[in-house]
């Protein structure tokens, strides 16, 4: 299968890459070809729809038709410290308004050349396998550019950094990559946008790796808004060292089939990882999310909250696991998935799991399914809001309850605006 994706590009597109990387890509391609295609017998693919895993229709992405149009359309927050725009696996634009000294904000390939040691230490260096190792190998084999951000110790980047990844053209395949390294006691906020330039079907196979060293703070927001027929894999790995805090929010506004895997490893004492996701789904769209909160160090905290609102014939799968390793005493871990059911044909699947190998823990998880409250709808209808809008307002409120957990007010307001637009309640 996937002949088109395999035959071309055993060498990276960009000649800027160092030669050793070509060898790694070749190995990754072999890994991809030789790994078996997942079946539902694998626990990590239970309930999954396997049809989208046939990638044979996808082809190489061509250079985008108009760089200017995409760059101009890449606007997020009013104020930001730096920005990168990618279109079909090429860096289209990079600007840095107010980055503190020492911050490295470069394309992946130039970081591989200019900061080889850092690059090799962090680039896809951690295991991420929550089922998609085959697609992680595909990503590694085909990645040609991406973001490399290094914030040195004791450095605060005040305004958010914004990154845009565009897909354009029928059956184009793109491989977005975001690598963030937060040095000790540093602080940064990153907005990662994934967008389609048209309504055509694309393949996105993305990896983002977040590394938080001691005492650092990272807010990472991914706003995924691919076309409604795009197949997307988003594989995330987060490593949080002592007393560091990561807040990660994934908003899945688009995509036809989205497989998301998020692995948070709490490797230092007193670390904290917040994992949030909001997923409005309708039509026949499908969001398949697998998560792992891996407590390795003692006295760490993790808090996961995933919200799904399902309409029409949409599907969601949430399979989460809290794993408390033997040495992780004093763990405080939470995990919750809430499904708001808007249609009789919607298909929500929840598998919230726990594996506790230590007795000094506080752990709980929960999963709820429920409809929109008739009382709430009646209240709004009595005030002249039609039933359909009332329902969308309830969904908006449901998701906003999570957005309140984002500390940065500008980011929060911006997300709330994007959400309102997505739900047509603005």
């Amino acid at each position: 299968m996937n002949s088109t994706l395999i035959e071309k590009h055993v060498t990276p597109i960009s000649s800027n890459w160092p030669t050793w990387f070509a060898a790694e890509q070749k190995t990754a391609l072999t890994d991809y070809e030789q790994s078996p295609t997942p079946t539902r017998r694998h626990e990590s693919w239970r309930f999954a729809n396997l049809k989208p895993l046939d990638l044979s229709a996808f082809v190489d992405a061509q250079p985008v038709s108009s760089e200017g149009r995409l760059i101009n359309a890449s606007s997020g927050l009013g104020e930001f410290s730096a920005k990168m725009v990618f279109g079909n696996n090429a860096l289209l634009h990079r600007s840095a308004q107010s980055l503190p000294d020492g911050v490295i904000f470069e394309s992946l390939e130039s970081a591989a050349a200019n900061h080889a040691e850092l690059f090799r230490k962090y680039f896809m260096a951690r295991p991420t396998d929550l089922g998609s190792s085959k697609f992680t190998a595909l990503h590694k084999a085909r990645v040609s550019t991406g973001v490399f951000l290094y914030v040195p110790a004791n450095t605060t980047v005040t305004l958010p950094i914004e990154i845009f990844h565009w897909a354009e053209g029928n059956n184009a395949s793109i491989f977005p990559h975001t690598l963030l390294i937060c040095g000790e006691n540093s602080s940064v906020t990153v907005m990662d946008y994934f967008k389609s330039a048209d309504k055509l079907t694309a393949l996105a196979c993305g990896v983002n790796d977040l590394h938080l060293e001691k005492g650092s703070r990272l807010t990472y927001i991914a706003v995924q808004d691919w076309s409604s027929t795009t197949t997307a894999f988003h594989i995330n790995s987060t490593n949080v060292d002592a007393n560091a805090k990561c807040t990660a929010l994934i908003a899945n506004f688009g995509g036809g089939f989205v497989r998301g895997e998020s692995l948070s490893r709490l490797i230092g004492e007193g670390s904290r990882s917040e994992m949030y996701s909001i997923n409005p789904v309708e039509g026949t769209r499908e969001i398949d999310q697998r998560t792992l909160q891996d407590h390795i160090a003692p006295h760490a905290t993790s808090d996961l909250l995933y919200l799904n609102a399902l309409d029409d014939r949409s599907r969601t799968i949430f399979a989460g696991l809290i794993k408390v390793e033997p040495g992780a005493q004093g763990t405080d871990a939470y995990q919750k998935v809430r499904n708001l059911i808007l249609s009789d044909d919607a298909d929500p699947n929840s598998m919230p799991g726990l594996e506790i190998l230590n007795d000094e823990v506080r752990c709980s998880h929960g999963a709820t399914n429920g409809p929109v409250s008739e009382d709430e709808l009646f209240y709004m209808q009595a005030r002249g809001i039609d039933r359909d809008k009332a329902r969308r307002l309830v969904v908006n409120g449901f998701f906003n309850s999570l957005l309140e957990r984002i500390e940065d007010a500008a980011v929060r307001t911006h997300l709330s605006g994007l959400l309102a637009k997505r739900l047509s309640v603005d």
Partner: protein
């Protein structure tokens, strides 16, 4: 039964042994010959013989479910297992061979002298014919059928055949296939319409020792508007020589019927206990599984209810206690297949020492159903640092007029609680026992009284030596 128990065995003989009497021993290992042998000895009708052979083929073709279950399953060597032993050939041993700790447990639990010998395997059967006859006579007048599965299929084929293997198909899982190939023992119960059986029916009182067999098969049918409570097992550790137990239990509750199925099991630490239990609840019927699992090396048991009729109700109440080296992998399955069906799962587990307890759950509500509700609560208590607990629920609730909630928590006994009790002169061990008993108390209350008393004593016993 065909065989007469041999009561004249010389109990002074030490080591247990198998009588080399091939009429009643299927030998070791599993093949079509074994299945034919069992069918011959039990004088099975042809359809049962075919059913067994079909099951054997399924068993052989199905892989071990180790892609999700414990890899300890790979340590079961099917070739080394004896699949059928009739009563006359049960292993014999003398009271002196029974390990001291088992005797001590009997003492502490207050098990009557006569029952101790039976439980320890010293006597081939428990002399409770009188008690059994009384119950049988009492319910027999109401038209209740309460017999062994072999007698059931031979004497009541019109009811038996209609439901046998329908709730749990042969190929449901590898171990239900195994049971279907070699089953013997277990109960067949039929409650006629409108009959409410006052006394719980107890497998314990059935004189057929096969009931505690390795591959028992139980089928209970409660006809319209009837009610029955069935109890199996007991709190005393059953001293076992066979290491694989794989039972299949099927319940059918017709319109408006109620079945409660109570299990209290305390297996010895070498036993693999792999059980498939499921019930079908028709309109307004109710099936409740009350399950307590203690002991064994690995228990895998997920009682289920298929709510097939409107307003049917399913419930699972379960307590699992995993001590050193033990793995209790238990849970529940609730399949909602009609409107206004409700289900409730309450599971509490305690892991002691290196014990591991696992909850696995499945909740499904089909499309286009209305008014279905599920509530699931799982609480785990960890006693020692190396204790382990896992929770793996899978929830698929479709339809916008249905609701479900799942909650789980993991905790340990708080040091404050223990300190408080120690201050009042209670030893640390006793304080731990009290705390654990408090943790499961609301569930223990749902067990029949004599069981709940013994359960409390048993928890005390298991908690001993877990402190310090």
């Amino acid at each position: 039964m065909e065989t007469k128990p041999d009561l004249n065995i010389d109990r002074s003989i030490g080591d247990f042994h198998y009588d080399v009497d091939y009429e009643f021993d299927a030998g070791i290992g599993l093949s079509e010959r074994t299945v034919d042998y069992i069918a011959d000895v039990k004088k099975d009708p042809d359809w049962i013989r075919d059913f067994r052979k079909d099951a054997l083929r399924k068993f052989e073709s199905m892989p071990m479910p180790t892609h999700w279950a414990s890899h300890d399953l790979d340590n079961i060597i099917f070739e080394n297992i004896r699949y059928y032993l009739s009563q006359g050939t049960q292993p014999k041993r003398s009271w002196d061979d029974v390990p001291e700790d088992v005797k001590r447990t009997f003492e502490r639990l207050g098990i009557p002298e006569q029952e101790r010998k039976f439980l320890a395997g010293v006597e081939a059967q428990f002399d409770s014919e009188a008690a059994y006859s009384n119950i049988k006579a009492a319910v027999g007048d109401q038209g209740v059928i309460f017999v062994g599965s072999t007698e059931g299929l031979q004497k009541h084929p019109e009811i038996f055949r209609k439901w046998f293997g329908k709730v749990i198909p042969t190929g449901d899982n590898k171990f239900s296939a195994l049971n279907s190939a070699v089953f013997s023992g277990g109960s067949f119960i039929y409650i006629p319409p409108g009959v409410k059986v006052k006394h719980p029916l107890q497998a314990y009182f059935r004189i057929n020792a096969e009931n505690f067999g390795q591959f028992e098969r139980t089928l209970i049918i409660a006809d319209e508007g009837s009610e029955v409570m069935y109890m199996e097992g007991c709190t005393a550790p059953k001293f076992e020589t066979s290491t694989l137990h794989s039972a299949v239990v099927e319940l059918v509750a017709l319109k408006g019927a109620k079945i409660q199925y109570v299990t209290v099991q305390n297996w010895s630490a070498n036993v693999f206990n792999l059980v498939t239990k499921r019930g079908i609840a028709h309109e307004e019927a109710e099936i409740k599984w009350i399950d307590c699992n203690i002991g064994s090396r690995l228990t895998m048991k997920y009682p289920g209810v298929i709510m097939k009729g409107r307003k049917a109700r399913g419930e699972v109440v379960s307590i699992a206690l995993a001590s050193d080296g033990q793995h209790q992998d238990t849970g529940a399955k609730m399949i909602h297949a009609a409107d206004d069906t409700t289900s409730n799962i309450v599971s509490k587990s305690i892991s002691i020492g290196s014990g591991r307890s696992t909850y696995r759950g499945l909740v499904q509500v089909g499309r286009h159903l209305k008014g279905c509700k599920n509530n699931t609560e799982c609480d785990a208590l960890l006693i020692n640092t190396e204790s382990r607990t896992d929770t793996y629920p899978a929830i698929t609730v479709r339809g916008k007029e249905n609701a479900c909630q799942h909650e789980a928590s993991v905790s340990k006994i708080s040091a404050e609680q223990i300190f408080y009790m120690q201050q009042r002169g209670i030893s640390e061990g006793a304080a731990m026992s009290l705390a654990v008993n408090g943790f499961v108390n609301d569930l223990v209350q749902q067990f029949p009284m004599e069981y709940s008393v013994e359960l409390k004593r048993l928890i005390d016993l298991e908690m001993e030596g877990s402190v310090g």
